[in-house]
Symmetry: C2
Subunit: 235 residues, 2 copies
């Protein structure tokens, strides 16, 4: 059974890395002793080793070890054998570029489909959608395609940000950007606020965490949906 957590962020304000999710992760990865970590998104340009170390420290507190995919000679094999997979955040363009270059998109999808539990945060959540067209990241590298895993039949906008009242900055709001996305694309987009995640259990999709999420459907007014709502209607 597919078992996926698609989280808006790894870290909420005033709390440690993955801290707000640890109870959830303890359950999610209960069958896994070791997590396979994909550090390709390189937040702040840090090395794969440094990033893996960071993930490792967080998982240690729930009794799991972590190994980076870059430590394996054969990443496809590593995914096949993984007990659990975590794709961390950073830059989505960098992440997607590396996933294509290392030919691991299909192996990740296969592992998830056979039931390997998956956690994505931020960029690692973006790639769960149909495409990465609704990332907030800067296009610092040019990936071979914007197509991603399509584990859910819509797009994700992580770190969703409401318009700031009284803001004098003239750059587009997040809502405007997603509206522009719908001038060229018709799939729904879910704006996941920091602290929210989507839980996928088999064919059951549920919004989790403390906050509401904002739904953008093609040719409709955006609207809010409460936590613990089913998301199966979105397609």
């Amino acid at each position: 059974m597919k078992s996926i957590i698609i989280a808006s962020t790894s870290t909420i304000h005033g709390s440690g890395y993955l801290e707000y999710l640890l109870d959830e992760l303890s359950q999610h990865f209960k069958s896994a002793d070791e997590i396979l970590f994909i550090p390709y998104a390189r937040p702040g340009g840090i090395s794969h080793d440094e990033y893996t170390e960071k993930a490792s420290e967080a998982f240690k507190s729930i009794g799991k070890t972590v190994k980076g995919i870059h430590e394996f000679e054969n990443p496809e094999k590593a995914l096949e054998n993984a007990q659990g997979i975590f794709v961390g955040g950073g830059n989505t363009f960098v992440l997607v570029n590396q996933l294509y270059k290392n030919k691991v998109l299909l192996p990740i999808k296969k592992a998830i489909e056979k039931g390997t539990p998956y956690l994505g945060t931020s960029a690692g959540s973006n790639i769960c959608g149909l495409t990465m067209n609704t990332t907030n990241d800067m296009p610092i590298v040019y990936p071979p395609s914007f197509k991603t895993l399509g584990l859910v039949p819509f797009n994700i906008n992580p770190h969703y940000l409401d318009p700031i009242e009284g803001n004098t900055h003239m750059g587009e709001t997040r809502e405007t950007r997603i509206k522009e996305f719908h001038a060229y694309n018709s799939q729904p987009v879910i704006g996941l606020r920091e602290g929210s995640w989507i839980e996928v259990k088999g064919n059951q999709l549920t919004l989790k965490g403390a906050l509401d999420a904002r739904i953008f459907e093609y040719d409709k007014q955006p609207y809010e949906i409460g936590t613990d709502s089913e998301l199966n209607f979105l397609k």
Copy 2:
């Protein structure tokens, strides 16, 4: 002689479209009665006609007419004959995609090099840099390349935004994003705040407007540069 204005934004808070720049534009386009407008970036997904009408209204107040490039059967010819060129803002991915599809990047560059005055705002400024890798926009379409006009030997970040003190949002700051850019690219980036522009006169590059700009050079601490500074050292 090359004559280019690369503006952070079309509009500053509390003022009309292009209003803060009109005196400058009156001088910049003094030899032109008609401006060729490129509406490809489609802010908010509006039509080419609607966008051209918006530009038209602003230019009317300084006695210029505006015609959209989409009104011409042969865009290349239109650029060759243009008295002045304006590329408006919106989504940089949409703009660059259309510039490639309509094969007008080289014709724009040629027109500028023979002295046709050019104005870019926001996305229209992004494309003046070496690449569009430092846009803030959402990648809502997949362009054939991120390479742009290279009218200046660095990259532009329009609508540059300082970190907001006390902000609890965990998404990357603009500075972090540009630092990540430099993990993969070595050209300088200029963060242009809203109300700033770069003036290019032949080989002379100058920062204009009321505000300082932030300079990001590879492997250096970012720093501020005052208005009216020369930018020729940046390469």
